[in-house]
Structure formats: C-alpha cells, structure tokens
C-alpha cells in the first residue's frame, strides 16, 4: 500500500518577477478623459453662477439687451439699488441734481441710472435675520443631533429602530403640507414673525437629518476608544468630549453644512411665517421687483450676496467635507 507522489511545478527557483505594475496607455488615456469630462461638467454647472455675477454688475439698460452682452462697463447700480430705496427722476430733476456739489458716491451711482436715493432698503436687516436664524438653528440641530445620535449608536435603547424611523418620518411630508397648521399654531402661540419661531422650526426639520447622518459617523468610531477612556478614569461625558468629539469632526462638519444650506435656502415656511420683523432673505429677494420694470441687476445682486455666506462656510469646512460626503463609500 505504498503510494508514490510525483512533484510538479517549477524545478528551479523563480528569481525574476514578471509582474508589470505600470498603467497601460489605454487606462492612462481614460484617466485624462475623466479629468476633461469632470472639468466640462464643473464649467456647465458654474454657468448660472457666472451669469448671476454678470447680471449683478451690468447696468439696468443693458440687462435685457439682445444679443446678451458679455463685455460691458461694470456698474454698482444693482448693488446700490439692492441696499437702497430709490425713485426715478424726471429729466429736469436729473439735470438739477447733477449740479448738486454735495452728492455722495452712492447718490452718484444711482444718478447715472437716472434715479434718486430716498432711503435704505430692508435687505441688509433681512440678511442679518437669515444669518441669525440659519446659524442658530444649525448649531442647535447639530448639537442635539450629536447627543441623540451618540445615544442611538452606543446605548441599548428599547425600540431604537422604531424611534429612528419615527424621527426620519418627519422628513416624509413635503413642508407645504404642514405650513397651514403650523401657521395657525404659530399665530396662537405668538411665534409668528419671530426669530425664535423660525429657529425652532428649522431645528426640528434638520434634527431628523442630523441624527441619521451623525449616527452613521459615530457608528464608525470603534467603541474601544471610549471604553479605553472609561477604564482610564474618565466619565462617559468626558470620554465623549475628549475622544468621540474630535474623531467625529468630519461628520459634524458635513452635517453642519447640510443643515446650514437647508436653513439658509428655506423659502416656503419663511414666506408664510414671517412678515417684517423676522423675514429672511429668500422670500425677500423675489419681492425686489423695482419701480420701473423688473430690476434684474438688483435681484442678481441680492442673489450674489445671499450666496456668499454659504460659500464661505463650505470653503472653510472643505477639508472635512471631502471625507464627509464620500463617507460610507470606502470601508476601512
């Protein structure tokens, strides 16, 4: 019952590697094509932004010129018109005004457009309202979202799945459906046209989003880190602050930007629930129609100024965002 075995395989040791790690010309070409396509797509999506910038600085009488003007003498007419209340002057009044030696820069800009400044517009204070309301609601929704996401991620909560679904379900109704009931409630609660009213509403709406997003990020942080901190002599809250928080920064940044953009752009509730005191910029911009025809350059200026804060925040948090929005795509 003796069995013999025959040896197969290379008889001499393999001393030279034949593996080729270099990219093939074809895949290098594909990489370049990808970059070109990405650039083209980025340019296409930037066209509206370029157009807004153009329109914001074009004089009113050239806004609707056909064919559209790309090259023109930039003017601050739109910007000044946005921040001031003005009226159209007659030819004779214009001539009289031109000779006035005490004209300010602002007056002069408007005079060139045949207008006279009569006061300041509410846009600046509306922009401040937007900053206050969007900022406060973002901070609140990220703060509370972080706490409850941590609880959902780490503790054994009875019915956690149902609770999470319930939280998410607040997102399932389109806002328009609930505006009327909320309007009625806010009126009787005295929250109509108040900053607190809108802050509260945006916080509630963003909370579902922030809980879900942050829970995903916190789930990714291994529990061992906190456990190590616990046995090292820290309380649960200290461990959260010193260990979880620094590691969740990416998620917090991504959530902040998403919440901020929602609160900043929100239109329907702001239109229904505010009038003068707490009116934010989004419902205010369409109402800048102007006295003599639609002042497109003024509206474009409003949009341009409105875009700037979000761009700044997004830019400041960009290094976290890159990891944040692709989160979940790669498992470690």
């Amino acid at each position: 019952m003796t069995t013999t075995f025959e040896q197969t395989g290379p008889r001499t040791p393999v001393v030279e590697s034949i593996r080729v790690d270099k990219l093939s010309p074809r895949s290098r070409l594909a990489g370049r094509a990808r970059a070109i396509i990405a650039t083209v797509l980025a340019l296409i999506s930037l066209i509206p932004v370029f157009w807004i910038i153009r329109t914001a600085f074009i004089p009113l009488n050239e806004v609707t010129a056909i064919p559209p003007k790309i090259i023109f003498t930039p003017s601050l007419e739109g910007l000044v018109g946005l921040l001031t209340d003005d009226r159209i002057l007659s030819e004779s009044a214009l001539a009289a005004k031109r000779n006035d030696p005490n004209l300010s820069f602002v007056d002069r800009v408007m005079l060139n457009a045949g207008r006279e400044v009569v006061g300041s517009s509410p846009y600046a204070s509306q922009l401040v309202n937007s900053v206050v309301i969007a900022g406060a609601s973002t901070i609140l929704s990220v703060f509370f979202g972080l706490l409850s996401a941590y609880a959902f991620s780490r503790f054994n909560i009875p019915g956690a799945g149902d609770l999470l679904f319930f939280i998410l379900s607040t997102r399932m109704l389109p806002p328009v459906v609930v505006t009327i009931p909320i309007f009625l409630m806010y009126r009787s609660l005295g929250l109509h046209d108040t900053h607190i009213g809108l802050i509260l509403l945006y916080t509630v709406f963003n909370l579902s989003f922030s809980v879900w997003l942050l829970k995903g990020f916190i789930d990714e942080i291994p529990r061992e880190y906190e456990e190590a901190a616990l046995v090292d002599g820290y309380t649960r809250l200290q461990a959260f602050r010193k260990i979880v928080l620094p590691q969740a920064l990416t998620g917090i940044a991504a959530t902040t930007v998403f919440c901020l953009i929602f609160a900043w752009n929100e239109y329907a509730f702001a239109l229904m629930l505010t009038s003068q005191n707490a009116r934010t910029a989004p419902p205010a911009i369409p109402s800048i129609l102007g006295s003599g025809g639609i002042e497109w350059n003024t509206i474009a200026s409003g949009v341009l100024i409105f875009l700037i804060p979000v761009v700044i925040v997004t830019f400041a948090l960009r290094k976290y965002l890159l990891r944040g929005v692709t989160f979940g795509a790669i498992r470690k």
Partner: protein, 366 residues
C-alpha cells in the same frame, strides 16, 4: 497589589448565557489566563471584571471591596485592547499621559512617569508620533505603556497579541511576561491561543460554551485535563482519544488489539466502570513510542502520514478507521505510508475518560 474575586458571576443576553455562574479567585500578583475558543465567554468575563459589561447576577470583589456596580473609571484597573484602542488624534505622549490627566496629576509628575514608563518599554523614540504611523508591535507597546503608567491594581488584557504579526508575537509575549514579573501586578489575560496560555499563565482557566471547564496550572491542564474538551483543546494536536472497551485490566482497541493498562489505573477503572465497559483512552502525542519490532503490550498500527516539523516528526497512525492517533517521533525516523508499525505508551502518561459524562476518571492518590 490586588485580589480579584468572582462570586457566582453570570451574564445573560436575553435567555442565553454568555457566562454561566462562575466562581473564581485571582490571587495577588498572579498571571491568570482565560483560555477558550471564540464565543466561549472569556472576553465577556474580562469585561465584567473591568466594569465595561454589567453582570446579570453575582458579585465581583477587588481587594475585598465590592465593585460589582462601580463605574469602570473607579475600579483602578487598566485594560489592554486587542486592537490597541490608541486615540488616533493624540500623539503617543498624550496617549500615555491620558489616564494620569484624569486623576489631575501635576504636569511635572505626569512627564516624569511617562518618561519612566517609555524607558521601561523602550519606546522613547516614538513619543511624538501618532499611533497610525506605528507598527502593530509598537502600537501594542504604547497601549501597554498607557496601562502601566497609572500603576493600577490589576491589568486586564484582551488578546493583546491577537492583532500582531507572527514575528512580533514571540517578542511581545516575552516582554509582557517580563513586565509582569517586574511589576508583580495581578493580571488577567484573555487568549484563544493555547500555546500563549501555556507559555504565559501562572494558572489557566479553560472556558467553553459559557462555562469554566477547568482551572489549573499549565501543567495540570496539559497533563490532567478535567474533561474531553480540555484534553482536545490543549496541545497541538490535542490529546489522542480512542473509544474502546475495558475489561479485566485491559483496554480493547476498536480493531481488537489489547493494551494492558498500567497497574495503578486498575482500581480506579474497575470502580468507575463497575468492572467493565466502554471507556475513552487518552494520551499525548509525545507519550507514544513507535517500535518496529513487536514486543509486549504494543498496539498495531499503519502509518497514515508523517510530517516533518523540523525538530521532530509527527506520525499519524491508523489504529482502525476512523481512529488516527498522532505520535511524536524522532526527527530521523522515516516511515513509508502504509507501513506496519507498533507503538507503546508511557505508563505514567495514559489518561481515561468516561464516555457519557466526558469527565476524566481520576486515580486514587497513593
């Protein structure tokens, strides 16, 4: 430094036991190893001692103080995790200093103790790097340093070598052993690797299916396993176990070979089996000896396979299908497959087990 007592400690998840009620006393300065296959409850036991997992019943005492419901941070124990759990956003120095900062130790004292412990572990050159940049062995050294710096009452280690590369493992094993002797600290060490357990433990607690199977010194669990599980689990390969008949001082192999059991076993076997019956014979691979010539009390077998292990050869002998026994032989021995051989057993090294209860049959002490 500390004595740890577990009194009827148990852990249930729903209706299932993760750890069945167990009693255990870990002596002051002892290196105790919790050993078992994955899912046997050894890590849960360790986590209950640390307070990271709550007990469902029972009582844990540290130096006589009841700590069953005390927060982990108040227990004065250090925990070393399998995946190190070094805080990735801090430098090595900050990681090691972190437990001291919790106790509000003055800065100068923190620096002094960190320097002391990094010197002990020879990781001075790593102080300013981040954990992510270190090799797995160095990461584990840092996490040991973090545990040591506090001078806790007890060290709990959850498979600290499990995530290391093979070549670091031997080195770190020796380092941990030296550290233990140096610090004389009570240590509880969880592992699934029985070689590690044998090499490091003062005592080993073998666990399986949420139950403690045996508590004993490495020699005890190796030579006198309490039951079939321990016999199989300890050793590589485990103990050879053959089911056969016992009658009149002889063990009958499945194929009919008769093996006369050592005289000092006869009274115990007669008593346990009421004179005759089915029994399981066990012996370690190194207690068998292969002979080519048939002499007295040898068992017939055919060579099934033989492996060269460098220092020795492992022979796999067919003693009647499906029973293959493993016997350690001299490395010069060379047998062909299917060759007929005989093997004898060291009379001091044979063990017997009860086939139903699976428990070891014990000799009366003489």
């Amino acid at each position: 430094m500390a004595t740890i007592e577990l009194i009827q400690v148990e852990k249930k998840f729903g209706a299932n036991y993760a750890v069945k009620p167990m009693d255990l006393t870990i002596r002051d300065g002892e290196f105790l190893v919790l050993l078992g296959p994955s899912g046997c409850g050894k890590t849960t036991t360790l986590r209950m001692i640390s307070g990271l997992e709550s007990v469902t019943a029972g009582c844990i005492k540290l130096n006589g103080r009841d700590v069953t419901w005390i927060h982990p941070s108040q227990r004065d124990i250090a925990f070393v995790f399998q995946f190190f759990a070094l805080y990735p956003h801090m430098t090595v120095r900050d990681n090691i200093a972190f437990p001291l900062q919790a106790q509000q130790v003055p800065r100068a004292e923190v620096n002094r103790r960190v320097d002391e412990v990094v010197k002990l572990l020879q990781i001075e050159h790593l102080l300013n790097s981040r954990p992510g940049a270190l090799s797995s062995g160095d990461q584990q050294r840092v996490s040991l340093a973090r545990a040591l710096v506090r001078r806790p009452a007890a060290f709990l280690m959850d498979e600290p070598l499990g995530a290391l590369d093979a070549d670091y493992r031997e080195t770190m094993r020796a380092e941990i052993k030296r550290l233990h002797i140096d610090q004389h600290a009570t240590s509880v060490y969880v592992t699934h690797d029985q070689i590690e357990a044998m090499a490091m433990g003062d005592r080993i607690v073998v666990m399986s299916a949420a139950m403690v199977q045996q508590v004993g010194t490495p020699a005890e669990v190796y030579y006198d396993p309490a039951n079939l599980f321990v016999a199989r689990f300890i050793g590589s390969p485990g103990m050879n176990l053959i089911r056969g008949q016992y009658e009149q001082g002889q063990f009958i192999f499945p194929r009919g070979d008769r093996y006369t059991v050592p005289a000092n076993w006869r009274p115990a076997l007669d008593k346990a089996l009421n004179g005759a019956g089915e029994v399981i014979l066990g012996f370690r691979p190194e207690s068998g000896k292969v002979e080519v010539q048939q002499t007295d009390n040898l068992i017939k077998a055919e060579v099934y396979a033989s492996d060269m292990h460098g220092g020795f050869s492992m022979l796999h002998l067919d003693v009647g299908a499906p029973n293959v026994v493993h016997i350690r032989a001299n490395r010069d021995t060379d047998f062909l497959m299917g060759e007929r051989v005989h093997f004898g057993l060291d009379p001091a090294m044979v063990r017997f087990f009860h086939p139903q209860s699976e428990l070891a049959i014990r000799r009366e002490e003489n």
